[in-house]
């Protein structure tokens, strides 16, 4: 489906969604509360079939954390980007690891790097950071480590 078609289709599914079209792909902004049911619709709706989650990440905008999901369909070859703005003090969003299995690893990475809490994740533990790492999330903008400097 083309951008416009996708937009009308998604507006039917989720009237609360807001769109942003400046980029290459259609960007959809959803609230964390809507995300889980909306994700299921995206995956299973027979005209959308977004079965390939090729990128899952988070951006720290200092005032909020934004989750970014890049989705693609292996059947129709259309792409969309889903964004969800989280509260930076208490970031929480539903896990989608039972919809796209790759999300399990990617969510664990975001959990330790940004401190986002994925609700109902099957195994939310540290993946890359060593055991016993506490608190600080290295990919946040305010993270400073004077011993092991990452920033150049």
């Amino acid at each position: 489906m083309e951008k416009e078609e996708l937009k009308t289709k998604i507006a039917e599914l989720l009237p609360a969604a807001t769109f942003e079209e400046s980029g290459e792909w259609l960007n959809i902004l959803v609230t964390p509360a809507d995300w889980l049911s909306f994700a299921g619709q995206l995956r299973h709706d027979e005209r959308l079939l977004f079965d390939y989650l090729f990128c899952l990440t988070c951006i720290d905008f200092k005032t909020n954390l934004t989750m970014v999901y890049h989705l693609s369909s292996t059947t129709f070859r259309h792409n969309i980007v889903i964004k969800s703005v989280l509260d930076r003090a208490r970031p929480e969003i539903e896990s989608v690891s039972h919809i796209w299995k790759t999300a399990e690893f990617h969510e664990r990475e975001v959990y330790e790097m940004f401190g986002v809490d994925f609700l109902n994740h099957p195994d939310l533990r540290l993946l890359i950071l060593p055991d016993g790492w506490e608190g600080k999330n290295p990919m946040r903008k305010d993270f400073e480590d004077p011993v092991n400097m990452i920033k150049l």
């Binding site: 400046s22 980029g23 290459e24 792909w25 079965d51 390939y52 989650l53 090729f54 990128c55 990440t57 951006i59 720290d60 970014v68 890049h70 292996t74 070859r77 796209w100 299995k101 790759t102 399990e104 690893f105 990617h106 990475e109 195994d123 993946l127 890359i128 950071l129 060593p130 055991d131 016993g132 290295p138 990919m139 990452i150 920033k151 150049l152």
Partner: protein, 389 residues
């Protein structure tokens, strides 16, 4: 698992391994073993905690991060010209292709037109890299399975590619040859001659590979039906590259979203439907032949002209988000840049193929024998710096 800081001096003081240390495993009669972080079959510092029942794998749990260098965070303080060099160190076997992805992303943001000459040389270099990477994989994987000779055969031909790279780029592994707008330097005068010589040699050798390994009955028995990954799972786990194409997933970025001159050359996307280790093996072997085909079409038709577009001294990407993807030897590499209009990226994310491919390992390995794990890891072609970043 002990932290490096807590080196245990007295063996008797080591507590017994806690039964609930591994989630989902640890029942009565289960054995938990560690493969890695220093293990010859992992080809790098990958740590797998494996729960076994007898010889049957119940769970594989990867522990990552032993060579995590936080490349993404580092890139946030590097300019758009500098950050490309770091990415050579990510998937060091596809250094050129990583650089290509980053260069494409900056070019997309800045709307830089890359000269034809640079585009063609880039594609030739990419395909040479792919052959070199698949050769190393082939040799190393045969060694894991128990055949030592292929390793030397593979390195013999790979050396020729390294020499070609060294002449043109000055480096053998981390080339850093691509810059936004084109190439850092023009190709070496002997480049075309050397590549043609290599192609002649390699076409003879690739059949030797098949004779030596592919048709070997012991090899086939160890690969067939091992590490099954269904098509649905491959898509759901976000697998890409030969790992997914072995399960019949149409996912070659060069075909789906062509970049550089891939839409002007003829080559086939290799698909196998076996879903097992042998299918993934066959994809890579056949892919090498396609890479040769691409190089043959281009090597005599490198257009004259500039090798680099004229760009500003300081690159500033406009405010916005840019995503490009390329097909590395391991699969789909995505570069996602979020720019605030400054000289450095605000946030950069590398969607590395190895990370997603590794997530499928647990589901592939469950229920099979421990000895088969090396075949699965081998055919996933894991490069650890690519997973850790």
């Amino acid at each position: 698992m002990f932290r490096e800081t807590e080196i245990v001096k007295d063996v008797s003081s080591i507590p017994p391994f806690p039964q609930d240390a591994v989630q989902g495993g640890g029942g009565a009669g289960d054995l938990i073993i560690n493969v890695g972080p220093q293990h010859p079959a992992t080809h790098g510092v990958l740590h797998l905690v494996i729960t076994l029942n007898g010889e049957t794998i119940k769970k594989v749990e990867p522990h990552l991060g032993y060579i995590h260098r936080s490349i993404e965070k580092m890139c946030e303080s590097l300019t758009y010209r500098q950050f490309i060099y770091v990415t050579s160190r990510m998937d060091y076997l596809s250094a050129h292709i990583n650089n290509h992805a980053c260069a494409l992303c900056v070019e997309k943001g800045m709307q830089i037109e890359v000269p034809d000459r640079a585009q063609v040389i880039r594609v030739i270099m990419d395909e040479l890299t792919r052959i070199a990477s698949h050769e190393l994989w082939w040799g190393a994987m045969a060694m894991d399975i128990g055949a030592f000779t292929p390793f030397f055969h593979a390195f013999r031909e790979r050396e020729k590619i390294n020499e070609i790279m060294e002449e043109t780029c000055g480096a053998r592994l981390t080339m850093n040859y691509y810059v936004p707008g084109g190439l850092r330097a023009d190709m070496h005068p002997d480049f075309q001659k050397k590549v043609k010589e290599f192609i002649v040699l390699f076409k003879r050798k690739i059949d030797e590979y098949d004779e030596l390994v592919t048709g070997n009955i012991i090899f086939i028995n160890r690969m067939k039906g091992v590490g099954m990954l269904s098509k649905e799972d491959a898509v759901s786990f976000g697998c890409s590259g030969p790992a997914a194409r072995g399960s019949g997933v149409h996912c070659d970025i060069r075909k789906l979203y062509p970049y550089a001159v891939y839409d002007k050359v003829e080559f086939d996307e290799i698909l196998e439907t076996g879903c097992d280790s042998l299918a993934r093996y066959m994809v890579r072997i056949r892919e090498m032949k396609q890479s040769v085909r691409i190089i043959e079409q281009l090597i005599d038709h490198i257009p004259e002209g500039d090798f680099q577009a004229k760009t500003k001294a300081v690159l500033k990407l406009p405010k916005g988000e840019f995503y490009t993807r390329v097909e590395t030897a391991r699969g789909e590499l995505g570069v996602y840049i979020v720019s605030e209009g400054a000289t450095t990226p605000y946030r950069i994310k590398f969607r590395s193929p190895g990370f997603s491919n590794l997530s499928a390992l647990d589901s592939m390995a469950r229920g099979s024998k421990l000895g088969d794990l090396v075949a699965m890891m081998g055919t996933l072609d894991l490069v650890i710096p690519d997973i850790d970043r």
